[in-house]
């Protein structure tokens, strides 16, 4: 995708340094600054210079926005590449994506206690009920709306989670032994494909900053993150519960309802300013795959056993018709959230710890 430099931007050509990096410390929207600098450096000679942004990444943490733009310029058979980076510490009006904290991803399995993890589970059994997962149709709904700057967008979100409501009942030699155990839901994102495709062929791709597969659940900054389970029991109800006595049942409910936005016009997306050409949204698709386990944990040792799992996925595909401002349910070409493994035995290993998608999301323009 090439955008022609406007003649009004013509200045004495400044040859971009290959793979150069530039830093700005002044205040202001980072992406706009990147674009301005790119225009200045790439705005060419009278003969004109075509250039494209081959890759744009915008992210931010509590300190502000960082943008990385990789631009390719072609002139007289020469291809130049420049990389621009900027940051500012002002409150952002652009999309904010947290930078994942440094860390190991994933964590290694928990070290087994002396005697191994078989010992804590000796004489204790768990029975499952209502564990079969089931699909949801329709899977998603779209909301037609505007952000505060009146940029028209759609927001595509799960109507609700797929159905997964297992009950776990413990049988233990004593109440004291039972009270050492808890049961909960563990979830991994196995893959993710979220694309907003525009009329010029450009796509905005949203993905976890840490590529899947990865743990899913509450982010590390939330206070309810758990190294094994989706949450530590302090967030959504019925994700993690403790047993108090033999015969107790912990009821679990998968709450997950994923989703994301797309702007109707690429130029309206605050992350992607001109020189991108006017481009209208033609298609939005979201195909994410997840695996969710029922796990039981022996609290004193941290040993976990997974006793059931389901695989599920979002199959949402929206072909945008015209007029674009008037959405029609008929634009859905696929709209299901499907459980593809309804009654798994829990045997696949799960990713423990590390980043979750909510620690950092990236949006790339390709």
């Amino acid at each position: 995708m090439f955008a022609k430099v406007s003649p009004s931007l013509s200045r004495p050509a400044v040859r971009p340094k290959a793979d150069s990096e530039r830093n700005w410390s002044s205040r202001g929207p980072a992406t706009e600054r990147c674009h301005a600098e790119l225009k200045r450096d790439l705005a060419p000679a009278p003969s004109g210079l075509d250039f494209s942004f081959s890759r744009v990444r915008v992210h931010a943490d509590a300190n502000g926005v960082s943008s990385t733009l990789v631009a390719q310029a072609a002139r007289a058979g020469t291809t130049l590449t420049s990389r621009y980076w900027s940051s500012d510490a002002t409150p952002v009006t652009e999309p904010v994506y947290q930078t994942p904290p440094p860390g190991v991803n994933p964590l290694p399995p928990a070290p087994a206690p002396a005697g191994g993890c078989a010992t804590p589970f000796a004489g204790v059994s768990f029975a499952l009920a209502h564990a079969t997962g089931s699909s949801r149709t329709p899977g998603a709904k779209f909301t037609s709306g505007t952000d505060a700057a009146r940029h028209p967008l759609i927001s595509v979100n799960a109507v609700g989670p797929v159905h997964y409501t297992p009950d776990v009942t413990i049988t233990a030699p004593s109440a004291a032994v039972a009270a050492d155990f808890e049961a909960g839901l563990i979830q991994n994102v196995m893959s993710s494909d979220r694309r907003a495709i525009y009329s010029t062929g450009v796509s905005v791709i949203t993905a976890p900053a840490t590529p899947p597969p990865l743990k899913d659940g509450a982010p590390s900054s939330s206070g309810v993150n758990d190294v094994d389970f989706a949450e530590n029991g302090g967030g959504h109800p019925n994700i993690l519960g403790s047993f108090k006595a033999s015969g107790d049942t912990v009821s679990l409910v998968l709450p997950d309802a994923p989703g994301g936005p797309a702007w109707l016009n690429l130029q309206e997306d605050p992350a992607w300013h001109p020189p991108y050409a006017d481009a209208t949204l033609k298609r939005y698709l979201q195909h994410d795959t997840f695996r969710t386990w029922v796990g039981v944990r022996h609290k004193p040792t941290g040993c976990v056993r997974t006793i059931h799992h389901i695989d599920w996925e979002t199959n949402w595909d929206l072909a945008v018709g015209t007029p674009i401002a008037v959405f029609s349910p008929g634009w859905w070409t696929t709209n299901t959230s499907d459980v593809t493994v309804t009654n798994g035995n829990g045997s696949p290993a799960y990713i423990r710890g590390g980043h979750v998608p909510a620690d950092g999301i990236s949006r790339d323009l390709k």
């Binding site: 709306g145 505007t146 505060a148 709450p255 997950d256 994923p258 989703g259 994301g260 605050p270």
Partner: protein
């Protein structure tokens, strides 16, 4: 919309025009961060002006960014509602959110 207008609307005591489901057709205003205070402010502002609305605070996912409110109004009241909320934001009564911040969930 003057500051006095805003103050009067915020002080509104009367029936809420909150709907139990979004109007159809409806336009969603997705530009403001969610909080209990924000929800109450929007309820008062729109109700005081006679704008029926549906307010949703999405749940059921994990997010590393702050959640947004989804305020759905009839299309013929969208401009008015948007102006009202923008004025409230300018006055520091609502926190504005642009871009995808708070809209991407796994």
């Amino acid at each position: 919309m003057t500051n006095d207008d805003l103050r009067q609307s915020i002080a509104y005591i009367g029936p809420s025009l909150a709907l139990s489901a979004p109007s159809n057709p409806g336009v969603a205003l997705i530009g403001y961060f969610a909080s209990d205070v924000a929800a109450k402010t929007i309820d008062r502002l729109l109700s005081a002006r006679g704008v029926p609305f549906h307010l949703e605070r999405p749940t059921g996912h994990w997010s590393g960014t702050r959640e947004r409110l989804i305020v759905t109004v009839p299309p013929d009241r969208e401009q008015e509602a948007q102006a009202l909320l923008a004025a409230a934001s300018d006055a520091g009564l609502l926190e504005r959110a642009d871009g995808a911040n708070g809209l991407v969930h796994y």
